[in-house]
């Protein structure tokens, strides 16, 4: 019965806000978190008095390494003027803010607090690509780091194992990239709000203007197959298989279920929440699945009484195209070895039966690592409350959505199911 655990009392989401994700020379972590917090305050339908916030949990992975500044809990509680309430930083690599969300849920479910602010922040773009690659690799398993793996390298490695086992190819991963880029222009918070077609046309126009040879791409896949347009980063992961370097912040307001209606007539409820840990490439049960994700999913499905079929749409941690493919199998949306077919058949598109990463995903929305987990839940919040604008999932009676956040080589994984009643 380990995975049938219930929360001590219900927890609701009543507000949310995030900065636009991007690369900012003139904004730092505090500016971005403040932007997110201001949007959150405005999002609480019946108003929020920040004096009622009992505690802050904030995810941050690597500002110590990237910005030479650690200890972000009190910096942010001070920023938004809520000291001396407890402010705690959580770290689970790229899953850092999903852990903040989870700690906030438990703190309320235990009965200790009634209102908790959770969120995350990361500032990466002021470092070089090499520095970022090296900084992110700190979250890999030591044996991977010692021989020169990077994260694109980890997922490139997983891709060769998956391709060999199931007969998929890089062409299938291109379908994931094209799909995410089709969703991104519909998201005003996305770092890269462009379709692949947009970028092809821009490059063709640029070549014409400069009088250079005009690329002969006909289809999006022609563009993605061209190593000049889409160079390898860690073969078979190419530039357009990889999420960008990003700055950003996100936050959510959690309250005890019994007081949720004091803040909004349309709260969302935490139906299921799960977390797992994993072992890295050398020791994982297989190279084509993350045990941490399977555990997180089991726990969240067990708590909610829901099954993968009940999840109407989901945000999954597509740090790399290959990662999205693994997750949609590990979360039970598709059988092991069949996810690539589902993707190439269009089942995960915005208008498909199982929309995945309607926000554009990490690939296009951006991946300021510590802010990502809560930002994924914000997409679920927007979709379930029918506020996703042009990217609104066209499924009637949208009621159940979920977000999956991953850290490291599957070292930390979370799965959170939200419900609109």
């Amino acid at each position: 019965m380990k995975n049938r655990r219930k929360l001590g009392r219900g927890v609701a989401v009543v507000g949310a806000g995030m900065s636009k994700f991007g690369m900012y020379k003139d904004k730092d972590s505090k500016d971005l978190f403040f932007e997110a917090f201001q949007e959150l305050v405005a999002s609480v339908d019946k108003g929020l008095d920040p004096n009622d916030i009992d505690a802050l949990y904030v995810g941050n992975f690597s500002n110590d390494f990237f910005m030479h500044q650690s200890h972000w809990g009190p910096i942010l509680s001070d920023l938004i003027g809520v000291t001396p309430i407890p402010a705690t930083r959580t770290e689970g690599a790229c899953a850092s803010s999903a852990l903040a969300f989870r700690e906030g849920v438990f703190a309320i479910a235990s009965g200790f607090y009634d209102m908790v602010l959770v969120g995350g922040v990361e500032e990466m773009s002021k470092c070089s690509t090499e520095q970022v690659a090296e900084g992110l690799a700190l979250a890999a398993v030591p044996y991977e780091n010692q021989v020169g793996f990077t994260f694109p390298g980890v997922f490139g490695t997983i891709a060769t194992a998956y391709f060999a086992k199931y007969g998929a190819s890089h062409e299938n991963l291109m379908d994931i990239t094209i799909k995410s880029h089709n969703n991104a222009p519909l998201n005003p918070k996305a770092q890269f709000p462009y379709t692949i077609r947009d970028m092809m046309n821009a490059k063709i126009e640029k070549a014409k203007a400069k009088g250079e040879p005009i690329p002969q791409w006909q289809t999006e896949k022609d563009f993605l197959r061209d190593p000049r347009a889409n160079p390898p980063v860690a073969w078979p992961m190419h530039l357009y298989d990889c999420c960008p370097i990003s700055d950003g912040a996100s936050c959510m307001l959690l309250v005890a279920e019994e007081i949720a209606k004091n803040f909004t007539d349309d709260p969302l409820y935490v139906a299921g929440i799960g977390q797992g840990s994993g072992r890295g490439l050398h020791s994982a049960p297989t190279l084509t699945s993350f045990e941490a994700t399977k555990r997180a999913a089991e726990e969240a499905y067990g708590m909610s009484g829901l099954t993968p079929k009940d999840i109407q749409f989901a945000e999954v941690h597509d740090c790399f195209s290959m990662a999205e493919l693994l997750h949609i199998e590990d979360l039970g949306f598709f059988k092991a070895g069949e996810g690539y077919k589902a993707v190439s058949e269009g089942l995960t598109r915005l208008d498909g039966p199982k929309p995945i990463n309607t926000s554009g995903g990490l690939k296009c929305k951006g991946h300021p690592v510590g802010a990502t987990g809560v930002s994924q839940l914000i997409e679920v919040w927007n979709q379930l409350r029918n506020k996703a604008g042009k990217r609104q999932v066209p499924i009637k009676n949208l009621r159940i959505g979920a977000a999956h956040n991953l850290g490291g080589t599957g070292g930390t994984s979370t799965f959170t199911i939200l419900e609109r009643r």
Binding site: F149, P152, T157, S283
Partner: protein, 145 residues
Amino acid sequence: MGNRAFSDISYQQFLAEEKLMGSKCNKCGAVYVPPRPICTECRKSDLQWAEVSGKGKLAAFTCISIGPSFMIAEGYDRKNPYYVGVVELDEGPRVDVRLEGLQSKPESIKVGTPMTVKFLHRGEGDSRKTYLAFEPVQTQPSVAR
């Protein structure tokens, strides 16, 4: 050998001595490379050192164009990418390794290729470091270069 702790430091010391060593559970026989101080199969801490053959097959790989600073210092970059991957040893465990002696086109490399261990020594004195690497097994007598 028997006195060394089942630790990453010992593992690295053995690599410097050109030995690929793991720990073997005296209760259930499970083998761990790198060594573990506890058997994760039966949870017992009764283990002994075991040298493995250094033979295996390529389980997965990648060819990295943008590496960490220590690989850049060795001269690797977008124009000169390097291979790393996972080798499944004949004894069962998998190891994360640098890959040497592979063809320059990653498209032509096959998962499942038989591999053999190679110890890469870099640096001198206190900064001397040994990396675990594997290379394809020569299927034909090697030709003098």
